[in-house]
Structure formats: structure tokens, C-alpha cells
């Protein structure tokens, strides 16, 4: 089982990170120094490292503006890390479509219990404490009806 993380190489192309940072400020009045959003694909399937590399390069990342990392966290300067996932049992359309793409690209089938699940990681930098991070999760990034979140402090 492998994990692929996809992110923008140059912040100026990264509209999503920019708008999350803006929303944190305008909706919650919390100042951050930087926000970086990373898309994660959990490949719960029998896949060689070579095939995984192939998927990352040719299916999930846009080689012009994006980079990817496999099985390791993208290097990001940040104080806090948040991850938002769909609850188990909630249909992950993006993951299902990724699976279709994988079938097409690798020209093979997968068994019934193999799947791809997606999540988003947010790396935040700034003068933030646990209470603020919790608010960002609850009031902006995750809807706890269908999603759950985890957070972790990265720096001391």
C-alpha cells in the first residue's frame, strides 16, 4: 500500500492554498503566515512502486506546475499540520474516479476490496495555538457530518 501526495511547486499557481488562507482570515479572523494545501491519495491496492510512480507522474500530478512525493510527506515549512478525510463509509467520488483512471493507465483490473481514498492536508505557519487550529478545522475545513480531521503540532 502506497500513498501519493501532490502539491504545487510555485505558490503563485496555488489558488486553493491562497483562498484557504484568505478564508481563515475573513471568516475566523485568524492571521496565518502561510497555508499550503496538499492532496493525498491512499492506494489501498496491490501496486508496485514503479506503478505508483507512473500514477503519480501521469495521472495525479500536473507536471507543468505540480510536484509529488511517494510514501513520504512533502517537505513544507510549517508549525501545524491538519488532515481532513471523508468518514469511512462515505462515498469518495474523487477516489473512485482515481481508481478508474488507474485501471485505464495501468491496463489492469483491481479486486473488489482494493480502493483509492483521498484526503487533504493543510500545512499552516504562524502564531497559532491548539484552540485556533481546532476552530479552523471545525468552522472551516471539515464538516463533521461527513468528514473527520486530525491535527499535529510540528514545531516546538
Amino acid at each position: 500500500m502506497h500513498r501519493i501526495e501532490v502539491f504545487f511547486a510555485d505558490p503563485k499557481n496555488d489558488a486553493e492554498s491562497f483562498s484557504v488562507k484568505k478564508d481563515i482570515l475573513s471568516e475566523l479572523e485568524i492571521q496565518t503566515d502561510s497555508v499550503k494545501v496538499i492532496k493525498c491519495y491512499y492506494l489501498n491496492a496491490e501496486l508496485s512502486l514503479e506503478d505508483t510512480e507512473n500514477l503519480a507522474k501521469n495521472l495525479f500530478a500536473d507536471p507543468i506546475v505540480q510536484n509529488y512525493s511517494i510514501d513520504s510527506e512533502a517537505k513544507t515549512e510549517a508549525d501545524w499540520k491538519i488532515e481532513v478525510k471523508l468518514n469511512s463509509g462515505v462515498t469518495d467520488n474523487e477516489g473512485n474516479t482515481a481508481m478508474l483512471g488507474a485501471k485505464d493507465l495501468l491496463k489492469r483490473n483491481f479486486s473488489e476490496n482494493e480502493e483509492i481514498r483521498t484526503s487533504k492536508k493543510y500545512f499552516l505557519k504562524g502564531n497559532l495555538d491548539e484552540e485556533k487550529i481546532k476552530r479552523i478545522c471545525k468552522e472551516l475545513l471539515a464538516n463533521e457530518v461527513v468528514e473527520s480531521f486530525e491535527y499535529k503540532k510540528l514545531s516546538e
Binding site: 471568516e27 463509509g89 462515505v90 462515498t91 467520488n93 468552522e139 472551516l140 464538516n143 457530518v145 461527513v146
Partner: protein
Amino acid sequence: MKEEIEIKNLEEKELNELSSKMLLSLNTEEMKTLQDYFKEKNRNPSQAELETIAQTWSEHCKHKIFNSAFNYKEISLDGKEKETKIENLFRETIKSATNKLMNEKKWLVSVFSDNAGIISFNENFDVAFKVETHNHPSALDPYGGANTGIGGVIRDILGVGLGAKPIANTDVFCFGPHELKKEKLPKNLLHPKRIFKGVRAGVRDYGNRMGIPTINGAILFDERYIGNPLVYCGTIGLIPKGMDKKKAGKGDKIIAIGGRTGRDGIHGATFSSIELNEETSATAVQIGNPIEEKKVMDVLLQARDKKLYSCITDCGAGGFSSAIGEMAEETGAIVYLERAPLKYKGLKPWEIWISEAQERMIFAVPKENKNEFLELCEKEDVEAVVLGEFTDSKKLEVFFGEEKIIELEMQFLHKEVPKRILQAEWKEKELTEEFEEPKDFNETLMQLLAMPNIASKETTIRMYDHEVQGGSIIKPLMGKENDSPSDASIVKPLFDSKEGVAVSNGINPLYGDIDPYWMAASAIDEAIRNLICVGAQMNHIALLDNFCWGAPTKEKLAELVRTAISCRETAIAFGTPFISGKDSFHNEFKIKGKTISIPSTLLISALGVMPDASKRISMDLKEKENLIYLIGATKNELGASHFLKLQGKLGKNVPEVDAEEAGKAYEKLSELSLVGEKNSERVIRSMHDCSEGGLAVAIAETAFGGMLGAEIDLRKVFFEGNEKEKTNTVLLFSESNSRILAEVPFKFKDEFESKMQGCIFSEIGFVLGNENLKVTGLKGETIINSNLKELKENWKKTLKW
């Protein structure tokens, strides 16, 4: 049946407990009816049978409240009582209006019998229209709820008749105030701004990804929508003539195509029949996938044109149980549920049967076409499975493997839901009208333009693709700077033919706080006059009603009765039949024992067919020195106006409608819209309706459109009523209905006036060459003199996020 649920020997109290424990949302009488049924059969029901009955009999599917009998009592202020008995509210109001107009309106094709209403479009096509609500799910998960709301109504259009092709969407949202202070937000509720953003994105992502233009809409704000926002989604579709009828025959295969079945949206139909509270469960939420639905649409339209199937319906509320149950109402069906493709293992048979997983459609395919149909699905990469077949047993039989889990008679399922008699009581309200006169009309106009209900919705509109398919002729935003809101929108769906479809909405729940009767009349008038403003023809307009109400208490039911009666009377007077509708009750939120109920909200959507779409008229002022006319009378009707809302008051003089008088003027304007081929030959160059904010806001908006100033003189405005009540405030801010601003070149003055003879109209001013808005008051003094750029900036900033 292996797993039985004990019901035969239950007491009344235990029956009620069972209903609420299983989330069946059935009342005592309904539970007793089904107890009797199983007593007679001398067995207990399976869980799947109980769930099927609950789904089929749900408010959502059977519209029990609207089809009930009513004892309607009116109590006037002096204590006089008047009682009226109504046998069946729906039949005696909405439907009776259509029945009455049926003979005269030859263009009606299919009304109230299918997923959507259908009217004639041109010699080859008909047009179908449906508006749905998806309120409860949107309160819990704004993105997913709204996403599946629009997905559902698109499937309604796909499944109407033998299938229509969606050509346009329209959306109306009601939210709590976006500036609500955090401290005022009840626990466990999402902030209105977050709901707004989520809903907006949800509807956008579905419509845009399916390639359907969103051409029209509205957004309203009120404190009472905090716990229960309203999300109305509508779709218009084009269907070839002769395809409006469908019928499954004996031996036809039941084929399900599209998305897989999961645990999504279990109990959605019954869930919408109860109110939300702090612990409402999340399995009621569904997840949408527009790409899947697009593929389903591609299969459907090809199969339709090859005539591969005899009947079709969408899987909406109640899932397979409702879809197959309805299709087999006249015949009977046998279903093998273990064949349904699942998203994951572990679903119980009854869960598969009632799941509301999205993007699924059911087809009745004659045996000889089965293979061709399945091949087509495979070619388009859409999963399809033969679930069973239609029979002539008049029974619904469902198997899971060897085990029979359902055996119910269609007659019982569809016809024997007990009828209710409901009590409704209307007490005349004691209201007063007091307010402060504005000190500076410039300032008041500025404030009105910044109110969220009136302010520019440009940011939201821009997120929606209104150009895809290439047919939008009157777009949601028009004018010199492409930023002024059209009254209605027009789509010309066929490239080789000149007919157009115009669509608009009318909604004003605030008026209902004074009298729901006039709320309904006003909404109908607003929807129609919006269509007239873009050049639609008065003789070819159909309406959709959409009721969103709180819990059915006797006060709320009285509001319902008044609204419905008004719908009948106003629609008949205008000659505009209803063709379809929807109702949603229990729109309220319980928190700490306190109930916040939404204002009773009626949305009227209007559909107009234009013989020549090039005769469209936009709302922006076109040319300096043209004359500005106001059609219709201004009255002292500040009640529930936005001017009074500014002061936090309700008032009492709610705008009324004289439909005979208004209809006459609309007909003449329709005829005038057709005059002239080139722009320079047209008698009317622009039209704009007076609604929220009255004449003052209307003149500002039309001036924003052309970025041309205007000068108007209130002394010339036709006022109806007691002369003593005629003030600058009333003339500028009263929201009297049936009024339209029209721009007419001086050279057509005589032609316009002679044509409008017999109607109320007044020439109130003219277009300026500069960017100033100037209003002269009743004493000849200048009361407004504002720069358009400043006004516009103020109007645009409120919702610029």
C-alpha cells in the same frame, strides 16, 4: 418471511413507538391501517415491507398534507368567525386553476402527472420544467446537500416522459443573515455564511460539470432561515413531441443504471417529513457525482432516440422502492435485489431497497431490446443490471436470494393511505404602520441598495456557467458593464429555429408575515411581470408552485390554505396555469425546546415560450433622451417593504394585486415587444420591473445597466388611493405590484401611448446623457441627486465574497 416485525398484536401506543423508533414518520391512523392489512393477511411484515410502506406513504412522496381535507376557520379582528370546508386542498386550488384553463391553453401537454410539467415549445419539441427543494440535507452538509439537490432535479427532467434533455438550471436560495454575530449562532448550527458558500459551491459544481447553464436565480436573507436554509433547484428540458407518455408492459425488464447503491441517504424521504434537531443523523446525507450523471444522460438520450425502452423514472427519495413501486403501480413487479451493484458489502436487503444513493435511473426495457440496451450502457461505461421484470400480478414482490422479503398489493401501497382532516385557523392580525420619514433620500437609497436582498449578486452569478450549450440570449447579468441583473433569462435551445424559453422567479416571504394571500398573488405577479420585461408573450406562460412551510400547526396550515386559494384565484385571473409543483413541510429547527420555524415561503417559477427569441428586451437604459414610462399604479403599500425592514418594522399595507388590470397591461406590453425588427425600429428599448425597494431601486438598477443617468419627476407618477397618503416616501419605496419601467424613444411616444390606452401608465422622466440619477419630489424640489458610480459601488460591495 424470515425476519418479521411484530405488529399484529400491538397496542396504539406501541404502534406509535414503533413508528418513531424505526423513523417511519407514520401517524397513528396510518400505523393502524397497515396493522389491519397485516392482520387480514395473518402475518407480520418484514422490515423491508414496513420501510416500503413508510417511503411510499411519506409526506415527501404522497403529499398527504396538500391532499387532506381542511376545516378552515377565519377569525376577524372583531371576533367574527367564518368556517369553510375543503375536501382536498390541492384539487380545489392549484389543480382546479389548471383544469379551468385547460381548454383555452392548447399548449398544455402534461400537468401534475409526471416528474415535471410539460408544455408545447414548437412544432417538433415540448419543454419540461421542474423545481425541487433540498432543504434538510443542505442544513447538515451544505455542499453535498445542495449538490444532490440539483442532481435530483436534473434527473427529474431526464426521467420526465420518455426523457428530456436539460437545457437550463435555475436556483433560489434562502439563508440566515450572512453577518450574523457568532454569539447569536445556536450550538451545532453552521454559520449562515458557511452554509451560503457550501450551497453555492455544491449547486455550481454539479450544474457546471454536467454542462447545463444556470441562467436565473435569487438569494434571500432572513433570520428565520438560520437553522433551516431553503435550497430550490430547477431544471428545464427539451423533449421531442409525442414522448410525454410512458408505460411499462408485462415482461419488460427492470434495468437499473448509473451509480452503485450504498448506505447514502437512508430515510431521506421520511427524514424530510420530520423536523431537524440537534441530533439528526448523518446517514440522511447523500453524496453527488455529476460525472456519473452526465454518463447516465448520454446513455438515456441515445436509448430514447433508438426507442429501446417503454418507461423510465429516476431514483429519488425512497430509492428503488419508490421508483419501481411507482412504475409498477398499474402492473406489478418482481425484483431480485441481490443483483444490485453495491458500493461496499454489508448492506441489509431493506437498506439496498430504500437507499437514496445518487445518479441511478430505472428503465423498463422490452425483452427484445435488452441486449442492445446493455451494450449501449457498456459502450458508455455505465454500469447496468437487470433487477427483475414487470408482471401483471398487481403485486410488488421482492426477493433477496432465495428469500422473499416483500409481497405487497399495489392497491394497498398506492391507494389506501388514510386521508386526514386537518384544522386550520386564520386570525386576522392587528398591525400598525408607523415609520420615520427619511431625512435624506440619497442616503436612504444608498442604504436600500446595500441591503443583502437587493445588493448585487454578481460574485455568486459569476461562479455559475450561464453560457455552456451556447443558447443564453438574455443572460443573468447584462448591460454596458455586464453587471446588471436581468428580470428573467432567455435560452434559445435550437440553433436552427428561432423560438426561445424565458424563465423567472417570484418570491417574497416577507409579505406573508402580513397576509399569505397577498404573498402568493405578489409572487405570481412578480414571476409573470419579470417574463413580460424580457419580451415573453402573456398568452404562453406556465407556472410552478413550490411551498416551503414549517410544521403543520393550525396557524401554519391556515397560511397554507390562504396561499393556495390565492394561487387559484390569481392564476385564473392571469390565465397562467400551474403545470407542476412541490411542497416541503417541517422546515424548522428545534433547539433547547425552542422551535425556529421558517417564514412560510412560496416560490413561483414561471416559464414562457417565445415564438421569436430575437424579440427579447434587456433591462438596461439604452439611449439618452428616451422617455421613461411607469406602467401600473403606485399605491400606499409600504407594508413588509424593504424600506420598512431598514427600520426594523413590518407595517400593514401589504402590496395587493389587481390581476385583471395587470393582465391587460402585460398583454399590451407583450404585443409591443414584438414591434420592430432592427433596434432602431423597436418601440420599447428596455424594461425593468419594480420590486424590492420600489421605484427608487428599480430606476437605479436600470440606470446601472446602461450607465446612463435618468431624471424622473414624482409629480407625474400615477397614484391610486387617498391623495393624503401620497408622499415622496410612498412613491419612491412602496413595493406596489404590477409596475414596470419602460424606455421608449420619443419618436414612438404616440404609438406607445395609443397602444397602452385603457391601461394605467405615466410618463415619469427621461434618460440623461451623464451619470446622474435625479428625482424631483412632489413640491418640485430635488430629493435625489446621486452619482451612479457611487450608488453602484455601494450596491456591489455587500455580497462581494
